[in-house]
């Protein structure tokens, strides 16, 4: 009996199988891996801003507290962006002719806000609130990275749901003493109270922080 398949059919079958496997793998990485990459999540992206504002210069260099500019961070859900008036508190007198600061002066003259572009942005179906985190001893660094060392702001943490839940399952090791909350270079030292002591001091625990309704309300 003559062979039904010619020898070339072997090759075709192999190629077909490899192709199918590749399709499955490719599909899976497109569906599952690709959305989790730093590239898609904009991690460590420098965002082009209308004015090249440097946290490194203003916070680490000049020692200005985060709350000088982000005034509502301890009292409201939004941290708040500084209005032009805040910049002009100083820049009405220092660096008054710098071309770099022209958009700031124009903004004041024309009464139009500076269009800052977002660095960290949660989808709007997620509820987030700064006040509770600051009040319970979570430092800015836990979510924003070492802002005071950034010459241009960049997103330092993925801010995925997994990231939030990681801490919400057991916040204690991430809490800091009140005086360290705004210091993004702070490190735990032997004198730091233990995680358990901090959790007690801030009355953290006894709530299920992983309930969907905490963040999706």
């Amino acid at each position: 009996m003559a062979a039904i398949f010619s020898p070339a059919a072997n090759l075709a079958a192999k190629l077909g199988l490899i192709g199918a496997a590749g399709l499955v793998l490719g599909g899976m990485s497109w569906w599952w891996l690709w959305p989790r990459t730093d590239y898609v999540r904009h991690n460590s992206w420098f965002v082009e801003q209308p004015v090249p504002f440097s946290h490194q210069h203003h916070v680490a260099g000049l020692g200005i507290d985060c709350r000088f500019c982000h005034t509502t961070v301890e009292t409201a859900g939004d941290a708040g962006m500084p209005p032009t008036y805040t910049c002009m508190t100083c820049h009405s007198q220092v660096w008054t002719n710098a071309a770099m600061l022209a958009p700031v002066r124009e903004s004041l003259a024309n009464n139009t806000p500076i269009p800052w572009r977002r660095v960290t942005d949660l989808p709007d179906y997620v509820y987030f609130n700064h006040k509770i985190h600051i009040a319970k001893g979570v430092g800015c660094e836990s979510c924003h990275g070492t802002m005071q060392d950034m010459p241009l702001s960049q997103k330092a943490r993925s801010l995925t749901m997994g990231f939030c839940l990681n801490c919400h399952r057991d916040p204690a090791p991430n809490l800091r003493p009140p005086e360290a909350i705004y210091d993004t270079d702070w490190q735990r030292t032997p004198d730091t109270p233990s995680p358990a002591a901090l959790a007690q001091q801030y009355h953290v625990g006894g709530r299920t922080l992983t309930d969907c309704s905490i963040c999706h309300r």
């Binding site: 200005i64 507290d65 962006m81 220092v94 004041l108 139009t112």
Partner: protein, 159 residues
């Protein structure tokens, strides 16, 4: 589930999947243009920004004042209040020291008013420091002044 029910469910779900995923919603946030307006619209008063009588002097008030002073005032006035803060060292016109006679004799209300209205080269802090905090800072400036000029009766010589 009957095949017909399954089909209906499938159709409904398939149609729903085309709905907006609510990633972008028309909520007001820190980025809304009205939140970062350079100057607020005419005749608006910041929420909770009504004039206030000075609160009683307590330790908590002074501690609050110290915290707020270190956030909003030290860049120029320095922690000592001598007017030699970091921004002044980078070229900002130097403010007067709090320890000169004129400011030691000024009423506490004067400090409150300087924060509310600004003073010369110093911009107003009305939008950044709430009225209760203004009194707390004013009280703390009084404490700073005392620390540099303690009354003779308060100074004890140690033997």
């Amino acid at each position: 589930m009957s095949p017909r029910g399954a089909l209906t469910l499938f159709t409904v779900l398939a149609l729903l999947s085309g709905c907006d995923d609510m990633t972008v919603q028309p909520k007001a946030g820190a980025w809304s243009p009205e939140a970062t307006l350079v100057t607020p619209p005419q005749d608006t008063v910041a929420w909770g920004d009504a004039a206030l009588k000075p609160p009683p002097l307590t330790l908590a008030l002074l501690q609050r004042g110290q915290q707020r002073f270190r956030i909003d005032c030290t860049p120029c006035h320095s922690e000592l209040g001598d007017g030699n803060g970091m921004v002044v060292q980078r070229g900002f016109p130097a403010p007067p020291s709090y320890h000169i006679d004129r400011l030691r004799q000024a009423p506490t209300q004067h400090f409150y008013d300087v924060m509310t209205d600004g003073y010369g080269a110093m911009y107003s802090f009305a939008g950044r420091v709430s009225p209760p905090d203004r009194w707390a800072i004013a009280a703390y400036i009084r404490a700073l002044q005392l620390s540099q000029h303690p009354p003779a009766t308060a100074v004890q010589t140690s033997r």
